[in-house]
């Protein structure tokens, strides 16, 4: 009986290629060493040898991640998502679940049991003293790991999408805003004894920046504090409508915001896991707009209360603020938002919870020049666009009838346009007039009109 040689690769197209390339093996080993070092640090070694463990952990994670990303820079440049539906990590396999539980656990510990991480927090003391003149706390550690994740996974993303200048530039932007505006600047402000302020976050996302308590403490801290209040108000009430009018939601959600930055970089392997169902779309619209109403009412109540200095309003507004801070600010945006990446995709917070997304979405939907143009009749209905849309938009439905995509949830990541095999989709800013073209005529049929 003839036997097929054992060394031949399996012709089963549903099996992932089991062979790991050398960079992947090196990467895996480095990450494993990094995890070992992390556990050792947590157990106390980090307190005794902070600098050593800092370099061990950051170093091995970085080398590991870059090594694992190396294959993306090799070979022909072009879009490839080989094996994404079969690989354990990207198809809700065991490794994905372990990662999700570990990430969720990390968030729970850091918010409410930070002492557990004391050994690891100590390894950041040298860096923290350099940047802030103070010892590290769990938030410094969090910021450092978050920034590192965006940078390392950003490198992987750039490799994967290096054929697209739009994606490369956008990723550099996101890396820049996270590193500069969401990490270095606030830390250095701390060093200068100024308020620790995040210029890239504003109301209603960083809701406290327009709460009376924060406003008064910023104003009383000095000239810079006053500027910060003006900056926050300007960003919320002037820049947001203007920039969203010109460019759509994407100026913030895909180019500036740190949540978006992590979602696009570290979340890239998971974008296809977003829920595409109609039910999810309905839930999303109710949730995200309810949260916007909630935070708006809370903010108004707080201001009314601070003006009248009442009792009833005081406890009500305080209760709202506390409740919001815990469930939305902490649990939703942090724990669920990132912890659930490997199971529900990278934009759970953005899609179901972020009030900023709701505001930007309203502008994008009703008063903006942004749209994703679908190129006439070129769509072949392959469905890649809908599969890879991280916001769960059924992009294909629009593309196959030649209709422009104008959706309040679209963050303008541009991935749908990249995975389209026929180049049917183009993110662009154009004339407001005719933006919806909602009685589309698929090009090629001269005598057909679609009656809706």
């Amino acid at each position: 009986m003839t036997q097929i040689a054992v060394t031949e690769p399996s012709l089963s197209i549903t099996e992932e290629s089991k062979e790991q390339t050398l960079p992947q093996k090196v990467g895996g080993v480095c990450v494993a060493i990094g995890i070992l070092a992390l556990i050792s640090a947590m157990s106390g070694a980090g307190k005794t040898y902070p600098a050593l463990f800092f370099f061990l952990i950051i170093g091995f994670f970085s080398i590991g991640a870059v090594s694992y990303a190396l294959p993306y820079f090799q070979g022909q440049a072009g879009i490839r998502n080989n094996g994404i539906m079969f690989k354990n990590m990207t198809s809700k396999g065991t490794i994905a679940w372990i990662t999700a539980i570990a990430l969720t656990g990390f968030y729970i510990i850091i918010y409410w049991y930070a002492w557990v991480f004391d050994g690891v927090i100590r390894i950041f003391d040298p860096l923290s003293r350099l940047l802030t003149n103070k010892p590290a706390d769990q938030w410094f550690m969090y910021g450092a790991f978050y920034t590192l994740a965006v940078l390392l996974m950003g490198i992987r993303f750039i490799g994967k999408y290096r054929h697209s200048r739009y994606h490369v530039i956008r990723t550099v932007s996101v890396m820049f805003f996270q590193t500069g505006f969401a990490f270095l600047i606030p830390m250095i402000l701390k060093k200068l004894n100024e308020p620790e302020y995040y210029f890239s976050y504003f109301w209603p996302l960083k809701y406290n920046y327009l709460f009376p308590s924060d406003v008064s403490s910023l104003v009383s801290s000095g000239k810079l504090g006053v500027f910060m209040v003006f900056w926050g108000a300007m960003m919320t009430f002037i820049a947001t409508p203007l920039l969203t009018y010109k460019y759509g939601k994407r100026w913030y959600c895909s180019w500036v915001c740190g949540c978006g930055g992590l979602a696009e970089t570290a979340g890239d392997p998971y974008r296809h896991l977003s829920d595409k169902s109609l039910k999810a779309w309905k839930i999303e619209r109710w949730m995200v707009h309810s949260i916007l109403v909630f935070i708006t009412v809370t903010t108004l109540l707080l201001w009314i209360n601070s003006y009248y200095k009442g009792g009833v309003l005081g406890s009500l507004s305080g209760f709202f603020a506390q409740w919001y801070g815990f469930f939305i600010g902490a649990v939703f945006s942090g724990v669920i938002g990132v912890g659930f990446y490997p199971i529900m995709g990278s934009r759970v917070w953005c899609r179901f919870g972020c009030p900023m997304a709701a505001v930007l979405g309203l502008f994008q939907r009703f008063k903006s020049k942004f749209r994703i143009t679908t190129n006439g009749g070129q769509c072949i209905s392959c469905g890649n666009c809908s599969t890879y849309c991280e916001m769960g938009i059924d992009v294909r439905w629009y593309a196959q009838r030649g209709q422009n995509i104008v959706r309040s949830s679209c963050v303008g990541c541009g991935i749908c346009a990249s995975v389209c095999p026929r180049g049917v989709l183009k993110l662009e800013n154009g004339k407001e007039e005719g933006r919806f073209n909602d009685k589309p005529i698929t090009i090629g049929k001269s005598n057909i009109t679609v009656h809706l």
């Binding site: 200048r165 095999p421 026929r422 180049g423 090629g444 057909i448």
Partner: protein
């Protein structure tokens, strides 16, 4: 198929009957570009070679093939993709008129009332001028279906397609065609071809020699706006108009490299005509 096998790290040998990939449809330069690109992806491409014999082992599985050049190639899988032909054997003795395909009129009606045929198996008795009697691509199938749907809803509608268009993607190179671009252009036609030195971007315009009216476009690695191509072809625009408004025609993503300047330079070289492509209007902060 080759791309799918390669994505699973399965080595592929590709036998192509023609001397250059798809050169019965693609003009020589485009065919050459794609042929190169296929090789770049480490496909063992054998041109002017066909399958002669398939050999099996004692289990009934394929173990090798013999090509027309006499070579024997060991393999475990043979994929055959040599085009489509209407599968109408099931219509024998049904009274439905067939030829190469199921014969239909412009309403997709067969000779039997209430029976229609569309798509790859339908043969137009009086084809639309410039179009084939049997159209076997996705886009025409979709248009057949949409046309017939109107008829079935009560509005008897004739098939009336606009300018032809098609597209494909060969590994990482996208291909689009609008209007009529054959492997060899007609005697009364001329054509202008431009290719980027990286071998991955190309643009071709075919037009009538005398009037300069455009007949069709081919692009590789560059996207054109379908609505505009469609309109210009229907309106009978001239080559000069095309060259002047190249920027409007472009559908590439934002920040993509622009080729209008290079293409204009190429056109100058060929025709001696200096046509400066209009720059796309930059929107100011307040528009």
């Amino acid at each position: 198929m080759a791309e799918m096998l390669l994505s699973r790290n399965i080595h592929v040998t590709f036998l192509v009957r023609e001397g250059s990939y798809w050169n019965n449809v693609l003009p020589a330069e485009e065919a050459a570009m794609i042929t190169e690109h296929i090789k770049e992806h480490h496909v063992d491409l054998r041109l002017s070679t066909e399958l002669k014999e398939i050999k099996g082992d004692s289990n009934g599985n394929v173990c090798s093939v013999i090509t027309t050049s006499g070579e024997e190639i060991t393999c475990q899988f043979v994929g055959i993709a040599v085009g489509v032909s209407p599968n109408i054997s099931f219509l024998k003795n049904t009274g439905i008129e067939t030829d190469r395909g199921a014969c239909v009129n412009e309403f997709f009606e067969t000779n039997v009332p209430d029976i229609y045929a569309i798509g790859d198996c339908a043969q137009q008795k009086n084809p639309v001028p410039g179009r084939k009697a049997i159209e076997q691509i996705w886009y025409t199938g979709k248009m057949h279906g949409e046309t017939l749907a109107l008829t079935l809803r009560g509005e008897r509608t004739a098939y009336n397609p606009g300018p032809f268009y098609n597209s494909a993607k060969f590994f990482d190179i996208e291909y689009q065609t609008y209007g009529t671009v054959n492997a060899e252009h007609g005697a009364d036609e001329d054509n202008f071809f431009w290719q980027h030195e990286n071998g991955k971007v190309g643009f071709r315009a075919v037009y009538k020699k005398e009037s300069g009216i455009i007949v069709g476009f081919n692009t590789l690695g560059m996207r054109l706006r379908h609505a505009l191509c469609n309109a210009w072809l229907q309106d009978g625009r001239s080559m000069d108009h095309v060259m002047e408004n190249l920027a409007a025609l472009n559908f590439d993503p934002e920040f993509s490299k622009k080729y209008e300047g290079d293409i204009a330079a190429g056109y100058l070289n060929k025709t001696g005509k200096i046509i400066l492509p209009k720059k796309k209007r930059r929107y100011s902060l307040f528009t």
